[in-house]
Amino acid sequence: MGKFQKGDTGYFDLLLNRHSKGVYRFIYRMVGGNSSNAEDILQEVFIKVAENRMNYSKDKKFTAWLYRIARNHTIDFIRKERYRMHSSLDKNIGNEDGTNVTYLELVKSDDRSQDEQFHNTMIKEQLHLKMNGLKEEYKEVFILREIEGLKFDEIAVITDSNINSVKSRHRYAFKELRELLLSTGFFDEYKKTGEV
């Protein structure tokens, strides 16, 4: 980051390469799985990083600083666009072999010959659907901790709150998610993962 601050744009490419995937996943999940919106926000985030590079000081952790920018942009986006994160059951979900199937078709399908990867995609999709039903403050903590693997103290910096609040939100997120998933058959499907 220090070299990029001095104007060496080659180092920006390295930063982009290292962090873009994690930030993109966070944004993508936060906006309910809309890749087009997620890519637009990702672009805004990294341009913001470039514009504000002189405000970054070495005593801060870069990841926390970056995710904080990403989080603020994402929340702004959601509020501005009055984004409603409810995925349609008719939404197309990608298949590895290039074909598209709807979630309903997947749920209805009782064909045990589906390969394991396909089965996993379905389970993940169930989780994401329910994750979108979580409150924003629980959802962001859950994504940062469980998907991106950040530490609680880093999440506290990103979300501008204290570590105990973060831990508490994380517990609530798990609790609510478990309750939401109980009715979907998620846990039964998960148990079958090894059998497929």
Binding site: T9, N17, R171
Partner: protein
């Protein structure tokens, strides 16, 4: 322990952050109830599915677009800084003067003049010697020119005198037509060579006086006789040469004396006072000049950028080959470039599912940059996770 308490402790238990007693109580509850066990397994499954949710990546086109956009932004910022300077015309010249002044002070007058370090004492002696030599040489040239002019003048005088003598030898006035008034005058002079000489000399006196006074040093007076003047010039010329030789010998001996002891101490003194100049000289004399170094570093950086772009586009094999070439380049790249190259190589090997190779690269990078080991530890963890999957 009720369900609510149990549920609150699950995450801490999964994270391994429960204290000894709490852990014991939690495990007892877990083993005593099927309901608790089921809840625990449900938490585990949520975590397991979430952790594996890493298969979403932004498209390479978006990353390229961001990279280009940021480069434009940075370029625009640099341009605006120059424009700001141009808006305040006083500041730019003031800055230029300050920079030149600092350069002058830091690099030293002698360095700027001579481009290499010459001791101050030697410089002074050489300068004095050179100015003395120039003054003496100028004086000598003036004198030589004066002597040459005098010689030309003498030749003309001789011609006139011999012509007068030839006319005096004519045998009879009858065989010759009546002479003109001018010829008569000449004949009269020829009949009296001594008188002619004196007339000519009188006519030349002001010219000679002027010429001699111009070149002769004070205290030497002109003589009517050319021979005496020539002698005086010859003496003067010889004296000047002697003086010049003495000056030269004196300067040389002074210089020789300086060479032995003083010169050394003066060199040490001057090198201490202008230490920065010495270091600059050392740079200049080293095998690679600073400008060449900058060029090489820029070249490496450009190559690194190309390798990064290549990796974006998914060409991992080519990216590994080129990064390996850059790692083996001579002169070797900086540690920061090497670190980036190892990171790129490791990521590429992981992408190609050559996990052992990726781990080997990260271990090598950790040895090279122990202060960045946390970065590579994270990468190693990623590789292990991928391997397990």
């Amino acid at each position: 322990m009720d369900i609510q308490q149990f549920e609150e402790m699950i995450i801490d238990y999964l994270d391994g952050t429960l204290s000894g007693d709490d852990k014991k109580i939690f495990e007892e509850s877990l083993n005593s109830s099927d309901e608790y066990r089921e809840i625990f397994e449900q938490y585990q499954s949520i975590r397991s599915v979430s952790e594996s949710d890493h298969d979403i990546d932004p498209s390479p086109e978006v990353l390229e677009r961001i990279s280009e956009q940021v480069k434009k932004t940075v370029k625009h910022e640099k341009k605006s800084i120059y424009e700001r300077w141009l808006r305040f015309p006083v500041l730019a010249p003031a800055l230029a003067v300050a920079i030149i002044g600092m350069l002058w002070i830091s690099t030293g007058e002698d360095y700027l003049k001579n481009k290499n370090i010459i001791p101050v004492a030697e410089n002074t002696a050489s300068r004095e010697f050179r100015s003395d030599y120039k003054a003496s040489a100028g004086k000598l040239n003036q004198m030589e020119t004066a002597v040459e002019e005098e010689e030309v003048l003498d030749k003309e005088v001789d011609k006139v005198v011999s012509a007068g003598k030839r006319n005096a030898n004519v045998p009879s006035s009858e065989s010759i037509p009546a002479p003109s008034a001018e010829l008569k005058k000449k004949q009269e002079y020829a009949a009296k060579p001594a008188e002619a000489d004196s007339t000519i000399n009188n006519a030349r006196a002001p010219i000679r006086q002027k010429s001699i006074n111009k070149d002769l040093p004070k205290g030497i007076k002109s003589d009517d006789r050319v021979a005496e003047k020539n002698d005086a010039f010859a003496d003067l010329k010889e004296n000047s040469r002697d003086n010049l030789n003495e000056d030269k010998t004196g300067n040389e001996s002074q210089l020789a004396a300086l060479d032995k002891d003083t010169l050394k101490s003066e060199t040490v003194k001057s090198s201490n006072t202008i230490g920065r100049s010495m270091s600059r000289t050392a740079e200049i004399t080293s095998s690679i000049s600073p400008s060449e170094r900058v060029e090489i570093a820029n070249g490496y950086r450009n190559e690194l950028n190309e390798i990064v772009t290549m990796q974006y586009k998914g060409d991992c094999v080519e990216s590994i080959e080129r990064s390996q070439k850059l790692l083996e380049a001579d002169p070797e790249p900086s540690i920061s470039i090497k670190t980036d190259l190892y990171l790129l190589q490791g990521e590429c090997y992981a992408k190609l599912e050559q996990y052992d190779k990726a781990l080997e690269i990260y271990d090598k990078a950790k040895e090279l940059t122990p202060h960045k080991s946390h970065l590579f530890n994270g990468k190693i963890k990623e590789v292990y996770l991928k391997q397990q999957k």
